[in-house]
């Protein structure tokens, strides 16, 4: 089905949820409200003429410095694809600034589990009803969400765990572990950047 036709179908099915839609470089995106996102995605996945059975990607976007007018602070972007029917659509769910949260789609695609954890980890968007919403890439005691626009590229202070780690090294040194002497004793094999 043509992407514009899919958009029309969505407009007919969820008239109050669709904010706007547009096409760019042959790809159509629909901007939607976050409230009924699970319902909408389930409908896209299960309708006989749509069958969007492959969740290609799920990611968060911080709109703080985006020039387009009328966007919320955050959005969650879903790229969907139908393997049997070979068509695609993009959904952009607008999420507000205060305690950004949206319903989890793990019930529809269990593979969304880690994608949502990643979005929570790096962008700080919470997913309601997620079975295990923890950080996935960063350490559990990390402060802040790096992909937010206000997060600096380079921090002013060392990671809090670093001092702890250095102290542990000192502790181990007391037991006679001598990394330099060890290095002199045997030269390691050339490290290759593989595996």
């Amino acid at each position: 089905m043509e992407q514009v036709a899919i958009t029309e179908r969505m407009r007919a099915e969820f008239p109050d949820e669709i904010l706007s839609s547009y096409s760019n470089q042959g790809q159509t995106a629909v901007i939607v409200r976050p409230g009924r996102i699970v319902e909408m995605l389930r409908w896209l996945r299960d309708s006989d003429d749509l069958r969007m059975n492959h969740l290609r990607s799920l990611c968060g976007v911080d709109n703080a410095r985006r020039k387009d007018p009328g966007l919320s602070r955050f959005e969650v972007v879903y790229n969907l694809y139908s393997i049997p029917l070979r068509h695609e659509i993009r959904l952009r769910a607008e999420v507000g600034d205060k305690d950004p949260a949206i319903d989890s789609v793990v019930g529809l695609w269990c593979g969304a589990d880690w994608l949502e954890r990643e979005t929570y980890d790096l962008m700080g968007i919470r997913f309601n009803n997620h079975p295990d919403l923890r950080r996935v890439l960063l350490p559990e005691d990390w402060v802040g969400h790096p992909l937010r626009k206000e997060y600096p590229l380079k921090g002013k202070v060392e990671w809090a765990g670093m001092t702890e780690l250095l102290e542990q090294v000192k502790e181990l040194d007391k037991f006679g572990f001598d990394p330099e002497g060890h290095a002199h004793g045997q030269a390691g094999p050339d490290q290759e950047e593989e595996e």
Binding site: I83, R90, W114, F175
Partner: protein
């Protein structure tokens, strides 16, 4: 001398309630293919719960890319899947080209297809080598590295690097292929199919190999799809999804090849899929060599570094000329198209997608990488549950993950 850490090790003792214990496998375990840690809850040898932990190699590429120009961010993609860096480069370039509306000459498209398939061979050879080694077949490992070495030498001749190439450019490729390169590649293609048969004679009907792979890690098509698996892991379960056919890019619509499908969805089916893919890759490379059209290798509107082909020859050696080139790159004020684009390519590991948002600036507003390895490791928990710990090793190998891509 015993070290104090050895003395304090706790030995798990079986209590009255059975032998349940937890085990942390990795991140330095050789069979986890990099820095993957798997936290296991075990009952004897059966896995009750499996929690993969990633992030040891997280370098913040998505954040870094927002602070670099499009041409600069290309080198980050080398470090995603460093086993098949060429495929990542091409995926990135294609996405940026679509985003910014840049055209690519036909010759460059063919060269890219060619190097992508060489990359796929490299990746599949390394996968077969380590996967077989994990299960206990040592010889295959050495055989595969032998052929992979030829490919790496060819890459070295093509662009000077063996692992991190940055050879494709936004709008084309960096430099043309030489006739020597083509001849050497042809020589490789002449011997390669017989080498695949050599690997197959070693393990295809090997009793140990069959015991370790047939019926292990079984996934139905629906399960694999719901878990988000792509690439050979999905095709092993019989789902016909190959982006080279579904949404052809570069010269894939100009060449003939088949997409091998499995039906059983177990480790053996995935193994057979990848072995067949190697045959198909060799076929694609052969067609690219035969059909390679003449013409330019980089488009006129490529927002690239000031490359030697644009600098007048007489000031080529002048360092100040390169200096201004770099300054121009950083102060690039070309107005770009705005909008967002999601473009996926079929890399050896699965579907590698780039989601870009451009706000007209010379840097991406947002770059999201949909990395197949990350999703495959996420799926490991569901696949390994209830199976034996020895099969976990086979499963990790079969999913074909690389941690550089997973952690980004």
């Amino acid at each position: 001398m015993t070290s104090p850490t050895q003395q304090t090790l706790e030995v798990p003792v079986a209590d009255g309630e059975g032998e349940r214990y937890s085990l942390r496998m990795g991140p330095q375990h050789p069979a986890t293919h990099g820095v993957l840690r798997v936290d296991l809850e075990l009952d004897g040898e059966t896995i009750i719960e499996c929690k993969p932990q990633v992030g040891y190699l997280h370098r913040g590429f998505e954040k870094l890319a927002e602070n670099r120009t499009y041409a600069q961010a290309l080198i980050l993609t080398d470090r995603l899947d460093y086993i098949a860096a060429m495929a990542n480069n091409v995926g990135y370039c294609l996405a940026v080209e679509k985003l910014l509306g840049i055209s690519v000459p036909l010759r460059a498209k063919y060269i890219r297809t060619l190097v992508c398939e060489m990359s796929r061979l490299c990746s599949h050879l390394l996968w077969l080598a380590t996967h077989a080694l994990d299960i206990g077949a040592m010889t295959v490992f050495l055989y595969c590295f032998r052929e992979r070495e030829i490919l790496l030498d060819l890459f070295e001749e093509l662009c000077g690097a063996r692992l991190t190439f940055s050879y494709p450019r936004i709008g084309g490729v960096r430099q043309d292929v030489t006739s020597h390169f083509i001849n050497e590649l042809q020589r490789f293609l002449d011997i390669f199919p017989s080498k695949i048969e050599e690997y197959e004679t070693l393990i295809d009907t090997n009793r140990i190999w069959l015991k370790r792979t047939v019926g292990v890690g079984k996934l139905s098509g629906e399960e694999a799809l719901a878990l988000g698996l792509t690439g050979a892991c999905l095709r092993g379960s019989g789902v016909d999804y190959d982006l080279r056919k579904h949404q052809p890019y570069d010269a894939y619509d100009q060449v003939e090849f088949e997409v091998p499908l499995g039906s059983d969805g177990d480790i053996y089916a995935r193994y057979r899929c990848r072995m067949e893919e190697m045959h198909q890759s060799a076929r694609i490379i052969q067609q690219c060599i035969d059909q390679l059209p003449p013409g330019p290798i980089i488009g006129p509107d490529a927002p690239d570094l000031v490359m030697p082909n644009k600098i007048p020859a007489r000031i080529e050696a002048d360092s100040s000329a390169y200096g201004t080139g770099l300054i121009r790159l950083i102060r690039d004020r070309t107005p770009y198209l705005t909008g967002d684009v999601y473009l996926a390519t079929e890399v050896p590991k699965g579907e590698l997608g780039f989601y870009f948002i451009s706000d007209g600036n010379n840097r991406p507003y947002r770059m999201h990488i949909r990395s197949p390895s990350f999703i495959h490791i996420g799926a490991l928990a569901a696949i390994a549950k209830g199976e034996l710990i020895a099969d976990l090793i086979a499963n990790i190998g079969s999913l074909d993950v690389v941690l550089g891509e997973s952690d980004r």
